[in-house]
Structure formats: structure tokens, C-alpha cells
């Protein structure tokens, strides 16, 4: 049956040729490692977020008067509503975590270097967009937590000289966070950002297909990047392992491990994405004590607290982000092995330690 369908399609559209080119004939470097499968894991996570998001939209009402109630309804009355919602909430946290790991491996293995600058830039943009979609989605349940986290987050924009206050008001759709904010954040979260993210994922994959996958710099004598900007060149890996079935199985096992961790959190640590303020409806007249952002924003939050002026704190963050985004244009040496790049390694480790320290500090303070 399946065979006949395959033959029917193959006779008309030559899918056998595509399968040969993209699956079995698509060779990857022999020394490719597990870290390269995180991209597939991220694709799966994105798909789960889209599907659970669509499902949540069936019962969720994006109206300040009804949002909290509708979320409680999903959690308490709809069969498996808690499951769908937790998958969405936990999934967003996991997406950021896996994204950070994906970026870390790219940094360590130097895959961001020429000719893959645009892979890095689109990927970095995706990172920013994912933060944006997390932030806008955070407001949706209209709880004390969402309300005040959004108040604080949007407020930091006011530090921008001259334009700041107007910008905040524009962002919020009013002087304060209110029903108008929910409307625009919901539109961003459920309509605008998913489409933009999907487009960037497309671009990211397109660049990946065009340049070919980079070989890990380990376990070979020659780790330097052979790129020379004379003409376009696809990096193939003759004598490598085929994507299907060899690396597809690696992808599959990484995805399975991801699911194990993800479902363990969903089932055994269901309050992971929430603090007690998440269970109280938003009250614009009462700020709860110790309002804190999500873990991945803790470092930013702490930076803002350290610097005496908000503008300074914001500029430092903007500078750090810009530096990271433009890294492939700054770090131009072809060497890709991390141990042969002492300056890079020192800076990277220092940066990571700083980020962790700031996050822990932000969490404790």
C-alpha cells in the first residue's frame, strides 16, 4: 500500500530523487556530534508550542475581564486542559533553555564563522524573537504575576532618552498596563511573532542548506575553517555519514531525551513556570512583594538594578547583545577549535559565569 503510494508519487514528482538528495545522499561529517541535533529538538519544540497554542486559543478569552477566568477554566474544568496549558508554559521555558544550549555549541565549535555569518545572525534574531514571544505570552493569563512582570518589563523602555515615555505608552496602548496592553500583546503573541519566527526559521534553514553543515573542529588534524571568499561553495562531506538513517536516529534520540525531561517537568514539577502570584487575578492597585521576571530575564533584571541609571544599565545590555549578534564579523580568525582560541574561550567562560552569577544574584536579592 505504502509502496504503491510511493511509486505513484515518484512517477509524477520524482520524490525518490529528493529523498536520495536530502535524506540518504545528504552526507554529514563523520565526527558530527550530539550537539548538532539541538536544532531538530528546537523545531519539535516550536511545533509543540504552535499546536498547544492553537488548542489553548479554543478556550482562552483575550479580554481583561475574562482572561484569568478562562485560564482557570482551562486548568480546572476542561479535560486535559491543565496538560495542554502546562505543555505550553513549560515548553516556552524549555525552548529558551535549549536555544541557549544550541547557541553555546555554535559558539564553542565556531560554527558561526565565515561563511556562516547569516546563520548566526538569523539564529540570534530568533533568540530575540523567542524572548519577545515569551514576554508577550506571559501577560496572557492576566494574573498578578503577568500584570506586574509586564509593567516592569515595559517600564525599562522608558529609560531611553526623549522618546522613552512615549514609546512605553505606545507599547502598552495606554499610560499603564491595562486591557489595551492585553489586546496588543495577544495579537503579537498569537499572530505576529509566530509568523515572523517561522519566517526566520525558514531563512535559518535555507542558509544551513546552502552552506552545508559545518564539521566539528574536534577529532581532526585540520580544524581551521577552509572558507575563502572567492566563489560560492557548498560544504559537502564526502565519505561522511548519511543523514538518514544515521543522523536521523541521533535526532530522534535527542528528541526522545528532550521529551523525557519535558514530560518529567510537566508531570512532576507542574508549578515550575509559576510563582504564587500566578494564581491571583491581576489587580492594578496592588503590587505584590518581590516581583521577579522569568529565570532567563533575571540577569537583565539584576543588571538594571546594579547600574545607578536605568539608561546605563540598558545601554550595557544593548551593547552586550549587539556584540553577540555581530560576533562573526568581529571574530574573524578561521580557527575553530575552542582550545586553540584562548582569548575567545576566556571571554566566553567569563561571560557565562557572569550571566549565571547575575541570574543567581537576581534570584536571591
Amino acid at each position: 500500500m505504502l509502496n504503491r503510494l510511493y511509486r505513484w508519487l515518484d512517477l509524477r514528482y520524482g520524490i525518490g530523487e529528493i529523498a536520495e538528495k536530502e535524506l540518504t545522499g545528504y552526507l554529514l561529517p563523520r565526527n558530527i556530534n550530539e550537539w548538532y541535533s539541538l536544532g531538530s529538538v528546537l523545531l519539535v519544540i516550536f511545533a509543540i508550542q504552535v499546536v498547544t497554542g492553537m488548542l489553548l486559543m479554543i478556550y482562552y478569552v483575550p479580554d481583561a475581564d475574562k482572561a484569568f477566568k478562562s485560564v482557570s477554566f482551562i486548568m480546572n474544568e476542561v479535560p486535559f486542559g491543565w496538560f495542554i496549558r502546562l505543555c505550553h508554559a513549560v515548553g516556552s521555558n524549555m525552548m529558551v533553555a535549549v536555544l541557549l544550549m544550541h547557541m553555546l555549541s555554535t559558539l564553542m565549535m565556531g560554527s558561526y564563522k565565515a561563511p556562516r555569518e547569516l546563520n548566526w545572525v538569523t539564529g540570534f534574531t530568533l533568540f530575540a524573537l523567542v524572548q519577545g514571544i515569551s514576554l508577550t505570552g506571559y501577560l496572557a493569563p492576566w494574573s498578578q504575576l503577568s500584570f506586574w512582570a509586564t509593567t516592569v518589563a515595559t517600564n525599562s523602555v522608558s529609560a531611553i532618552p526623549v522618546l522613552g515615555p512615549t514609546l512605553v505608552e505606545f507599547l502598552r496602548g495606554g499610560k499603564l498596563v491595562g486591557p489595551a496592553t492585553l489586546g496588543r500583546f495577544f495579537a503579537l503573541h498569537a499572530a505576529v511573532l509566530p509568523v515572523v519566527i517561522a519566517a526566520f526559521i525558514g531563512a535559518h534553514l535555507f542558509f544551513l542548506k546552502r552552506t552545508g553543515i559545518s564539521a566539528p573542529p574536534f577529532g581532526r588534524d585540520e580544524t581551521a575553517n577552509p572558507f575563502e571568499a572567492r566563489e560560492y561553495h557548498y560544504q559537502g562531506h564526502p565519505g561522511g555519514i548519511p543523514f538518514f538513517p544515521n543522523y536521523a536516529l541521533q535526532d530522534l534520540s535527542s528528541i526522545s531525551i528532550y521529551f523525557a525531561v519535558f514530560l518529567a517537568v510537566v508531570f512532576f514539577w507542574p508549578n515550575m513556570p509559576f510563582t504564587p502570584d500566578a494564581f491571583v487575578p491581576a489587580d492594578p492597585f496592588k503590587t505584590p512583594a518581590h516581583i521577579k521576571p522569568e529565570w532567563y530575564f533575571l540577569a537583565n533584571y539584576q543588571t538594571l538594578k546594579i547600574f545607578p541609571s536605568e539608561l546605563l544599565g540598558l545601554s550595557v545590555q544593548a551593547a552586550a547583545m549587539t556584540f553577540l549578534a555581530l560576533l562573526p564579523f568581529i571574530d574573524r580568525s578561521p580557527e575553530r577549535h575552542p582550545l586553540k582560541r584562548p582569548l575567545f574561550l576566556t571571554l566566553a567562560i567569563a561571560g557565562i559565569l557572569l550571566w549565571i552569577a547575575l541570574s543567581v544574584w537576581g534570584h536571591l536579592s
Binding site: L55, I58, E77, V78, P79, F80, G81, F83, I84, L252, F259
Partner: protein, 139 residues
């Protein structure tokens, strides 16, 4: 070859796991999407008889669907389903003519639900009711 058999066995295992995982994910989703039970609305309804004047009709929700109670000019009470038997529109009460008109395709029903004209194939369904001490209990 032995290798071939091993490959096949592992392939079947992977496929089996995938199917099991899909089923495990599909069941909650299906339940999540299924209509909520117990939302059919009240199966019994009490309407004070004084609410209805002669020749008037009162529309209400009954058992999750639309129903109508009329008091004919001769003072007779009738309770009917208001769902047209043709394609499911809600019939209108035309007071002057003392009959029901379906706005969708022009079906006409008399006060007791019989088809007077138009496409509806069956009369409107009757709903049982009792009258006690000025209260009309539907259902």
C-alpha cells in the same frame, strides 16, 4: 542477513514507540476538544402562566436547543421545538396570521406544528408540559 533482520526489528520498535506516543498525545487532545458534557441546559423549566398574553409566543432554551411556548387566540397552550425540520433555522412567530414562518426557506407551520407550506418535511416536535397553579412546567 542477520543484520537485515536486526534492522527490521529495530525499525518495528521505533515505529511502535512512535505510534504509542502519538496515541498517548492524541487521547488528551481529543478529550480536550470533545464538547463539554452536561451543558445541555435545564431539562425542566417553569414559566409563570401570567407571562404569556393571548396570541403571544415565548421563545426559550430547552434541553440545549430552542423551543417556543404559544398561547393561541383561543387560549390554548402549545409547546413546540422552535427548530425548523427542514435545515434547522429557528422559526418566527407571526402573530397576525397565528402561524410560524421559517425565514430561511419560507417554511410555514400552524400553531400545533403541522406543516402548512414550504419545504419542511415534518411537523415541529411537540414538547410535553403541565400546568399547575398558574405555573407552566415544561418537560
Amino acid at each position: 542477513m542477520e543484520n537485515e533482520g536486526r534492522r527490521k526489528f529495530l525499525g518495528v520498535c521505533v515505529a511502535g514507540c512512535t505510534v504509542a506516543a502519538a496515541a498517548a498525545a492524541g487521547y488528551p487532545v481529543l478529550r480536550y476538544l470533545a464538547p463539554r458534557s452536561g451543558q445541555g441546559g435545564a431539562a425542566k423549566l417553569v414559566i409563570p402562566a401570567g407571562e404569556l398574553k393571548e396570541g403571544d409566543a415565548k421563545f426559550f432554551e430547552f434541553a440545549g436547543s430552542s423551543a417556543v411556548l404559544i398561547k393561541t387566540s383561543s387560549g390554548q397552550l402549545v409547546a413546540l421545538s422552535a427548530v425548523c425540520t427542514h435545515l434547522g433555522c429557528i422559526v418566527q412567530w407571526v402573530k397576525e396570521k397565528q402561524q410560524f414562518l421559517c425565514p430561511c426557506h419560507g417554511g410555514q407551520f400552524s400553531t400545533d406544528g403541522t406543516v402548512l407550506g414550504g419545504p419542511p418535511p415534518r411537523p415541529l416536535a411537540k414538547i410535553p408540559f403541565t400546568v399547575t397553579e398558574g405555573n407552566i412546567t415544561i418537560g
